[in-house]
Symmetry: C3
Subunit: 337 residues, 3 copies
């Protein structure tokens, strides 16, 4: 049972109000009820602060004056909310042990504290560490290593030899370690290049639903500690992603590209192969990256929508840019005369 006193103590916030108030869930400022805790982190929602029905709100000191209910005061309410929500909603776990429907290969090391749900397949020589939780229908191929406290949701695929760090979370449909796209052309036909590297996933990485990370062609594909990947991302063979970089959904990164640490890559971005992105680069959504970016900063491309009639006209004008330039040149030379 979580009283405000206990939550305040756990998340390191100052409590203003009823210490014995019991909280059972979370809610938005607009929809929270009396047993919910809410928070204000985005000024857009400040208008709802003084009328919320929440049992408590997490706010920064500057916003405390507006609060009409109990408050937890802290400098970063969003981080504090993350911690409070984690207390109130412990993750659902699979049952302890190995479900009878699971098929396990030879020579596996599976911790007694591991939880392996139904319809799972585990190949040979697989290591599954302490407290690892493997969701239903997941497939773990030969020689995979999963370190302690990691979690595979349902229907995850880990291909042969893939290594997963500690406290990693992998969402359904993700495929880690499929063959990279390596082909060589021999007289018009494409010959497959065996993909003999693997994928190494660091600690505290999160991998979204239906995201794919290809194994290396010779050396390994590497996802560093603390990287957070959204859904439907494609990461080619031998890509390196530096620590604490976040990547939004539907991004594609071609082979052998090196992404720095603490980058933030917007959804739908495409990044060419064999290039380098410096630490601290931010790319807005749907960016097209064809060359290395050697210094931190924010980069963008793409032209947002306009009414289709205007778009048609602008595309035509765009294609005339060279002629436009010529006409200006002519004007300049005429005027020069």
């Amino acid at each position: 049972m979580w009283t405000l006193a206990k939550i305040a103590s756990e998340i390191g916030a100052k409590l203003v109000g009823n210490a014995e108030k019991v909280i059972t869930g979370v809610g938005t400022l607009q929809n929270a009820t009396d047993t919910d805790i809410s928070f204000l982190a985005n000024t857009k929602y400040r208008q709802y602060l003084n009328s919320t029905s929440a049992g408590c709100v997490i706010v920064s000191p500057a916003d405390l004056a507006e609060v009409q209910t109990n408050a937890l005061v802290i400098d970063d309410p969003y981080v504090a909310y993350a911690k409070a929500a984690a207390l109130l909603y412990p993750e659902q776990q699979s049952s302890l042990g190995i479900h009878p429907s699971v098929v396990v290969g030879e020579n596996c090391q599976i911790a007694d504290s591991a939880r392996i749900s139904a319809q799972v397949f585990i190949g040979n020589n697989v290591h599954i560490g302490d407290n690892v939780d493997i969701g239903a229908g997941s497939i773990i191929e030969n020689d995979v290593y999963i370190a302690a406290d990691s979690r595979l949701m349902s229907n995850v695929t880990l291909c042969r030899k893939v290594q997963i760090g500690e406290r990693v979370q992998i969402h359904p449909g993700a495929v880690i370690g499929a063959d990279g796209f390596g082909i060589a052309n021999e007289n018009g036909r494409w010959l497959k290049i065996p993909q003999v590297g693997s994928v190494i996933i660091g600690n505290d990485v999160e991998i979204g639903a239906n995201t794919t990370i290809d194994r290396g062609a010779i050396d390994d594909t590497i996802i560093s500690d603390g990287v957070k990947l959204d859904n439907q991302i494609q990461i080619g063979h031998n890509v390196f992603i530096g620590k604490h970089t976040v990547i939004a959904g539907c991004v594609g990164i071609s082979g052998s590209t090196r992404i720095g640490s603490h980058c933030a890559i917007g959804g739908g971005t495409g990044i060419a192969g064999h290039i380098e992105i410096a630490d601290g680069v931010q790319l807005t959504g749907m960016s097209m990256v064809t060359k290395s970016i050697m210094s931190s900063g924010t980069y963008s491309s793409g032209i947002p929508v306009e009414p289709t009639r205007d778009w048609h006209r602008n595309v035509i004008r765009y294609r005339q840019l060279d002629k436009l330039n010529d006409r200006i040149k002519q004007l300049e030379s005429k005027l020069e005369q």
Copy 2:
């Protein structure tokens, strides 16, 4: 056995020709055989109408004169074709009941009329309504609700607490209810925000292969009645999609965005988070939407391909637009003098 008389009666069309003619399949005007029914809905194919070998064609009254075979005449031949094809090709169903290989958790309500194929996992407290059909390898986590007459194809994943309406169809590899991409930055590291909302899918929704719909962060992600989603679409947490909106493949919609009713979104489109798209908006393929669109109509962006040499030159000119503008200014002021 489907005679033309029976088909005409079922789809509400006027029969011109042999009422006893038996039809066993469908075909295109070019490839149909004598036992197939075909249709003309796109003027591009009118050239094949008078030479088709089809046993019958569905046409609008205006096209009847050209028909050399039996005809079913109706104002909207495409809708009529859809109905005729549904008669001729009833969906293949899984076997009645629960396959012995299925693992079912505790406290589930599964209708006697449900069909659950092999290698399926069903968690605890799951409700499966009348005539629901669940394809092989699908994973249904705890507390999921599936209303009557819905169908999961093979290898679908429904995460905890997801609610599915009536007559919903979900294609293989789709993942409904994975965690949204919610993270908070604490001193350079990313902290996960527990995603405690769910996903609510309305009635008559279709969800394509490998499409992902994330659960809400606090409130729910909502897909309204009659929405049709193609393959490989990514829908972020707390997105709302209005009734009868259709979305083509590879679209990404970021978190908390609200899409209106009766919209049509072209393939590969990206839509930013926390914005609003009005009812009746049409977006052409590969659109980039960064701001709300407040009125219905057709919107576009993107510049179609050109030969790579021209593209190089135009991109350079594009980057000189500011200088071009300056040169025009100079010309204007010179001429003013």
Copy 3:
């Protein structure tokens, strides 16, 4: 055990050095050890050639002079490397026969030489040819045909009636034969068009992880011999792809489009429906194709990233192109006077 003499003989290269040298693996020029074979195919890496620790390098005759270790000399070192790696790393196979956890329907023909891993489902009337290998968790629906020597990795889904050629490789999470996106509008509601065609995959095709290929609406979707598809590609119903075409990750191809032979399509490209792409067309990454391309050559679109501030300014200028044009016109007519 692979001596250089044996490798040279198998791949048709000229051996310069110790014929009895035993090779056990592959490595990059930078990281290879004394028992590895390496290669030089990209001039970018020539700098590492004379200092490599590799036990052998595969090089073209022109590069032989630089080699300080054993060498295999051949005109195309990349193709030769592909062949050498295939010798050194034979594919891991599933165990011979059918794992006891597999569920097999009625009336199937499964070759004695087939290998079917755990947790697989095989429907009715399925044909599985000689030496076919089916990975764990894969789902093969009714009436599927898989020809000899093909391989499904883990968690692949083949929908009803799909036909797979010889020596095809399909990576995890791929879905072949899901319904195409066929809908007809009846009074504002969308009616499903039954998708009664299938998918036919030729010989020597490779299909990447989480790629989706939809079944045809009436006729079939066709992927010709030797086509190589990367991950997360979406191929709509009734698409035709010609022989030996390669498609990189995250490409979307809309329905009824016909792609020629020997094309190369860059990652993230989107191709509209009902158009034609000629043989030998190359599209660079993130291309937007809205019309048919009738002659071979290289085509591009999209504007690469720039610093966000510049991007903002250029987008504004882009939207003023029409006005810019008007101003030039005015200047021209003034000057004319």
